[in-house]
């Protein structure tokens, strides 16, 4: 897959590196010269210097054959418009934009720029929904609602495997909302029996992560 990443800040740089490690073809575009020079030391020809707001900069990066454009600059207007142009002018099949200021989310929606994200983790998961390398993934903060959503991978030997969901004694302030098993997701009922390898999504009050993690046992990453 050919991916253009706009913005080589902390998010863009790490994202670019991860995508390269996963054998994708990547071009990062960075408009700050000092930042560009720093990133170029490591990523070499995979980073280009320029303002991706300008169409010719996108064309030079080969946007015509890009499968995906990801905008992760610190400027919401840049992120919005580069995605808009990528999608509507260059017919790029998939776009992902970072929202810096949550109040601008409505304008991304207005311009039909979806999906939007706010963290590297989430972008990576959108690209390939693979089993995480770590047992617990922090998926989403819902600060206004004062809730968090996390994902847990049930390891062989987790104390909850083999148990009915209805028999679980989950910590106060947490709730299982879905189970992903062999690539298929479903909402668990009281009779659902948890199995090793299940990916479990839970919604919880902030700060409950550790307690829940302890309850579900050693995480799936310990090898």
């Amino acid at each position: 897959m050919y991916v253009i990443v706009v913005g080589a800040g902390k998010v863009g740089w790490n994202l670019g590196r991860e995508l390269l490690e996963k054998d994708h073809e990547v071009t990062l575009i960075e408009k700050d010269q000092n930042r560009y020079l720093a990133v170029e030391q490591e990523l070499e020809h995979n980073v280009q210097y320029g303002d991706a707001s300008e169409l010719w900069v996108l064309e030079r990066a080969g946007i015509g054959r890009a499968d995906m454009v990801i905008t992760v600059t610190g400027d919401d207007e840049d992120n919005m418009l580069i995605c808009q142009v990528a999608k509507e002018k260059y017919m790029v099949e998939q776009i992902i934009a970072r929202v810096n200021n949550p109040r601008n989310k409505q304008w991304f929606d207005l311009l039909e720029i979806t999906p939007v994200v706010s963290a590297t983790d989430l972008i990576l998961r959108l690209i390939e929904h693979e089993v995480p390398k770590y047992g617990l993934v922090h998926l989403l903060d819902l600060p206004q609602e004062r809730l968090e959503i996390i994902e847990l991978l049930l390891a062989e030997g987790s104390p909850v495997t083999g148990q009915r969901v209805g028999d679980l004694e989950l910590p106060e302030g947490s709730l299982l909302i879905s189970v992903l098993r062999e690539g298929r997701g479903f909402v668990p009922g009281p009779d659902t029996v948890l199995e090793p390898g299940d990916e479990v999504l839970a919604v919880l009050d902030p700060g409950m992560e550790e307690e829940l993690k302890a309850y579900f046992g050693p995480d799936g990453s310990s090898d």
Partner: protein
Amino acid sequence: MFVLIAGGGRVGSSLARAMLRDGHTVSCLDEDSEAHARLEIGLEQSWEDAGGQFTVGTALEIEALEEAGIEQADAFVAATDGDNTNIVIAQIARQRFNVPTVIARILDPFRAEWYEQQGLRTICPTRVAIEMLETEVKEAASRASGAGG
């Protein structure tokens, strides 16, 4: 007519005064309170006494747009110093607030052309400058070759 101008720089403030002189209702929105002083250049009285309205705020903030009167606006001019801001707020004015006339100033000629094709009314000062310079230089060239030949 009620005109809302986002961006009270040289272009925005001059346009605001001109529209006010022509008897229109004019509201100007700028994130810098200094823009107010620029609106009053050449005026005998304050901008408000002359009938103008001024709001300090960012055009991406819905509260600022509403305070500046976007819901009543017959025309919206995006004339801040940033192309990207202008393109975004022009689309907000058009798609969210259904302002009948929306005009965006876009300095980048390539994007101005593309957004114009998408149905956004754009003014590109760079394109105007290029055309004027081209005309002048070509005239000079033909005079020179005429004199030489």
